[in-house]
């Protein structure tokens, strides 16, 4: 069915992130299943059961914590009517934590969004889009230790739109500071 390899890389393909975690799972499945090592059949199956074949949802990352739903609507509507928008929230505070899911009515709109909006700016940040098999309850919450996204735990750069330093790092620095004060006190 599929034509020859394009001479230009396409921007509407799933990211390495999705493929990697999927392949890991696949490899795991294979180990479990054992035996059957027919690679050509596997390739065929991949076509068949590709969960992104008709994906209408996108994961959107690297948002500022302060970006509102209205802003997301404004930008993403340029690729088609939005069926549903789910903001990513901090597990504990229930405040936006820098990602969301945008669901369109059609697969084509989602692909166009990958091509035309992924990697452009929203609220003056380069945002990232990734095709997603679909939102499920629970996925709107950050999976980091402190409630936000994992990437905001150990981030070493200061990112004003995402709460400054990574939370774990900020915590450690605060501790060190406290300790430093005490030590200084002792020296005196």
């Amino acid at each position: 069915m599929r034509g020859p390899r394009s001479t230009v890389e396409r921007l509407d393909k799933p990211s390495a992130y999705f493929n990697n975690s999927r392949n890991k799972r696949r490899r795991f499945d294979k180990d479990q299943r054992d035996g059957d090592d027919d690679t050509s059949m596997q390739a065929e199956q991949r076509e068949e059961d590709d969960p992104l074949k008709n994906a209408t949802t996108l994961y959107v990352g690297n948002l500022s914590f302060y970006t509102t739903e209205e802003q997301v609507y404004e930008l993403f509507s340029k690729c088609g009517e939005i069926k549903r928008l789910v903001m990513g929230l901090d597990r504990f505070n229930k405040t936006p934590c820098g990602f969301c899911f945008v669901e369109y009515y059609t697969h084509q709109d989602a692909l166009d969004c990958m091509k035309y909006i992924g990697g452009t700016k929203l609220d003056e940040r380069i945002i990232r889009t990734d095709l997603d098999p679909g939102f499920e309850e629970g996925r709107q919450y950050g999976r980091g230790k402190s409630g936000g996204q994992v990437r905001d735990e150990y981030r070493e750069d200061y990112d004003e739109g995402r709460g400054g330093l990574g939370r774990a790092i900020a915590e450690r620095e605060a501790q060190e500071k406290r300790r430093g004060h005490i030590e200084e006190g002792r020296l005196r």
Partner: protein
């Protein structure tokens, strides 16, 4: 030099290797990020032999890489590059994988990266001197592809394959490509004589005229002069006839008072005249690249090319019936944002270069939508793909152009590239892709070469702003959308100070309306305070303090608002998610109070209820959508109660969110989806109620237009979907349902026409009654009426054309299928594959190309 830096990642194939045959393998290995190949290679061969580190990739990989990257590197002389690839190919002739891939890749590149076609032809011409067999393989496949694409109505592919064939004219036997062009012309004549509104024939003539220059550039100029003259004498008749639909797609809408309203010229009419003047000057075609011409030092290679074997072009059969194909065809007009300059920074429309470069760039832009980075790169590097000295040096500031001495070119490659993108952004009725694609191309180009592209965009913006009053209103709004979106990608920086004088203009002046609308759009992508800080002092009042409030005031919080107590009560009941009966009771109370006060009871209770729902959901869109979802039965009932109540729903939404109209538009869209509102409700509210109350002034508001336009797009999109479905063989849509949809759409357009005509002619009661003697205001309002009317009349006409086309295309496809079947029966040896393709294509959608977005 930074612009010349080859970037790897972005372009699939990435950068090419060293020039000619002299490879430095070690260097190549480290420079090319080609581990993709490494992995594949090991996998395929099962690791049977471990390759040593310094091995060059096998020839088929190198040929592929170099072909894909052909002409990208301006430091590599063309003749060296094409001989290098051709020799690498012929030297490895025994590599079967390579031989098969070579032809396929060339044909693929011709339709995927059309700027490179002349260079691919160059490689083929050189390869022909060594292994002429390859040309026969290529021509065989090429002709079959042309036939298939003609059958499908994929006219751009047809054009691009013919362009490749045209570049090979020098190695073709006999008359080469001329018989094919003549055959195409005879189809065009058939079509045009049977139907004056035909667009396929126009498209065919366009293809002929765009192919001819490549034929002429690829062979000795005088050899074909007579043939070309004969052909052009014929195309003249069709090309010079103005198309019936042309007035519809005209981008400019000058005021009646304008003295010399410049009419845009039709693309094929321009082409015909441009080529005529080329013919008069012996087909110099100085912008086209001729990589097959070797420098004087290489006499030997040049004579080898001249004496290489010629090949017969296999017959290309053009069916008696041709189809329009999946993309709707419209006549095209030429548009440029760099007209009327003191120094010409783009090719003037009198030169063939104007059309030839534009055409190649448009194909590139529209084909490469899969990767806007590559599109932007090819645009920024446009000078790599045309003859040397066609353009001025990259990034030459516009002010410096006047220092350039003639006959050196003053054409700025950036202007030419940007102009091409704008021509799509401003294409009526619709460009091939979503508008946001063209936004993204300009953004990428600006990121890739900011110093070169940004000033060009600035000059385009100034031109468009100056001409905003005479631009078609739909296009003017597209300009506003692009402008605000573009700024949002570049820190919202714009030299607003240039426009501060226009703040004094009436809000009804198109330029002032543009400023207001653009700032509003910027705020929607960002937030009020941020945008205010980007504006100079005189413009700051346009972003009032009320814009900074995220949540609007709840009018029932103030006791002097009618029904304040009831409003607060309903709001608290909604917050508590109280049972329906409790809300019912309050609504009853409102209605009886309203009757006492002699106002419309349904309108009063609807206003209170809807305002409360909005207030309860004011935190975010999710909140309000959830609130609507919970109360949708009551909203449905309220809307169904009376027209006035239904209209009041919109009134309540628009007034609650009057400061943030983007939110209101979003909510109304959802209410339409729930069928709480109908399209007609929106039209009436906007064009009769709202426009009436503002004495027509609100027709200047971009968001009112947006609301109406989105609603119409929803309706027409739905009709198209149904029509396309009902045209399919196993359609589940019955004709009755389809006709009902069409009828609904027509009544919407009729309502719009009615409402707008009175504004446009100045016969609206509100305009006459006011009689405040403000004739300037009346003139402006009338003008807005005309601008609106033109947009929606066009939309209506386009949808009617679509419906008519859908019927015709169905007939054409049937005729085409019959012809194919007849052919298959009469010649059992006919290539089954081609017939199969054509038949399969019949299952395809009729007119699936959606121009409603």
């Amino acid at each position: 030099m930074a612009d010349y830096d080859r970037r790897h990642g972005g372009g699939g194939g990435g950068g090419g290797g060293g020039g000619g045959g002299g490879y430095n393998n070690k260097k190549r290995r480290y420079r090319d990020d080609n581990d993709d190949y490494d992995r594949r290679d090991r996998g395929d061969r099962g690791g049977s032999h471990q390759r040593r580190r310094y091995d060059a990739p096998p020839p088929h990989v190198r040929v592929r890489k170099q072909l894909i990257a052909i002409a990208e590197n301006p430091m590599k002389p063309w003749h060296e590059e094409i001989s290098g690839i051709a020799n690498l190919f012929t030297d490895n002739w025994d590599d079967e994988l390579l031989r098969g891939n070579f032809v396929d890749l060339i044909l693929q590149l011709a339709v995927e990266q059309p700027l490179k076609t002349p260079f691919l032809a160059g490689v083929v011409l050189v390869a022909n001197t060594n292994k002429p067999e390859i040309v026969d393989m290529l021509l065989e496949k090429l002709t079959r592809l042309v036939e298939t694409r003609v059958g499908e109505g994929e006219w751009r592919d047809v054009k691009l394959y013919l362009k490749l064939a045209a570049c090979l004219q020098g190695l073709l036997d006999g008359d080469g490509l001329f018989p094919v062009l003549e055959e195409l012309f005879s189809r065009a004549v058939d079509l045009q004589t049977t139907n004056s509104e035909d667009t396929i024939g126009t498209e065919l003539v366009k293809i002929i005229l765009l192919t001819l220059p490549y034929v002429m550039a690829a062979s000795s100029p005088d050899q074909w002069q007579q043939k070309a003259a004969d052909l052009m004498e014929k195309t003249e008749i069709i090309a010079s006839e103005p198309h019936a639909l042309q007035a519809l797609i005209e981008p400019w809408h000058p005021e009646a008072s304008e003295e010399h309203p410049a009419q845009s010229q039709s693309l094929i009419m321009l082409l015909q005249t441009q080529l005529q003047s080329e013919a008069n000057s012996g087909w110099a075609l100085s912008c086209l690249p001729r990589p097959w011409e070797f420098p004087l030092g290489e006499v030997e290679q040049q004579s080898k090319l001249a004496s290489a074997p010629k090949h017969a072009l296999p017959t290309i059969r053009i069916p008696r019936t041709v189809v329009a194909g999946p993309k709707p065809l419209f006549p095209e007009v030429f548009i440029s944002v760099y007209g009327q300059q003191e120094v010409e920074s783009v090719p003037p429309t009198t030169t063939a270069a104007s059309s030839l470069i534009r055409d190649a760039l448009l194909d590139t832009i529209n084909i490469l939508h899969v990767n806007r980075h590559v599109t932007a790169r090819q645009l920024v590097e446009v000078d790599c793909y045309f003859a040397p000295r066609t353009f001025a040096a990259r990034a030459t500031p516009f002010d410096r152009l006047r220092d350039i001495e003639r006959p050196k070119s003053t054409w700025k490659p950036e202007d030419v590239a940007v102009d091409a993108v704008f021509s799509q952004l401003f294409l009526l009725p619709n460009p091939e892709h979503k508008l946001v694609y063209y936004h993204s191309v300009l953004t990428e180009a600006c990121k890739l070469a900011p110093a070169a592209i940004a000033p060009s965009l600035g000059r385009a913006i100034r031109y468009l702003y100056r001409n905003a009053p005479r631009m078609d209103f739909e296009l003017s709004v597209r300009f506003m959308d692009w402008f605000s979106h573009h700024l949002s990608n570049f820190g919202f920086t714009w030299k607003w100070t240039e426009w501060v004088d226009d703040v004094e203009l009436s809000d009804l002046h198109p330029r002032k309306a543009f400023i207001i609308g653009a700032i509003e759009k910027e705020i929607r992508l960002s937030f009020a305070q941020r945008i205010r800080n980007t504006l100079p002092e005189p413009l700051k009042p346009l972003v009032g303090p009320e814009k900074e409030k995220d949540v609007p005031e709840f009018k029932f919080a103030k006791d002097d608002t009618p029904f304040a107590a009831e409003g607060r009560e309903i709001a608290s009941l909604l917050k508590k998610k109280a049972p329906d009966e409790e809300i019912d009771a309050v609504i009853q109370r409102i209605q009886s109070l309203a009757i006492d006060r002699e106002i419309d009871a349904l309108v009063a209770s609807t206003d209170v209820f809807v305002t409360c729902v909005l207030y309860v959901g004011s935190k975010t869109l999710s909140h309000v959508l959830a609130a609507i979802e919970r109360t949708k039965d009551r909203l449905l009932d309220a809307g169904a109660a009376s027209d006035a109540a239904r209209t009041q729903i919109i009134e309540a939404v628009m007034s609650y969110w009057s400061v943030h109209p983007g939110v209101a538009i979003c909510i109304i869209e959802k209410l339409l989806n729930y069928s709480i509102l109908f399209p007609a409700t929106v039209i009436n509210w906007a064009l009769i109620n709202r426009a009436g109350k503002s004495r027509g002034g609100d027709l200047a508001l971009a968001h009112i237009y947006e609301l109406v336009f989105n609603t119409v797009v929803k309706v027409t999109g739905r009709v198209r979907q149904v029509v396309v479905k009902s045209n399919q063989p196993d359609s589940m849509v019955d004709d009755e349902a389809r006709d009902a949809e069409i009828k609904g759409m027509r009544s919407i357009f009729a309502a719009i026409e009615d409402a707008l005509t009175s504004w446009a002619t100045g016969s609206k009661d509100e305009m006459i009654e006011s009689g405040d003697g403000d004739s300037e205001r009346e003139r402006l309002v009338q003008r807005w009426g005309q601008r609106w009317l033109r947009v929606f009349r066009r939309r209506a006409a386009i949808e009617e054309a679509f419906l008519a086309e859908a019927v015709k295309e169905k007939e054409r496809r049937a005729a085409f299928a019959a012809e194919q079947a007849e052919l298959a029966a009469s010649a059992p040896t006919a290539p089954a594959e081609v017939v199969g393709d054509a038949a399969a294509n019949l299952q395809g959608e009729v007119g699936a190309g959606d121009l409603s977005t």
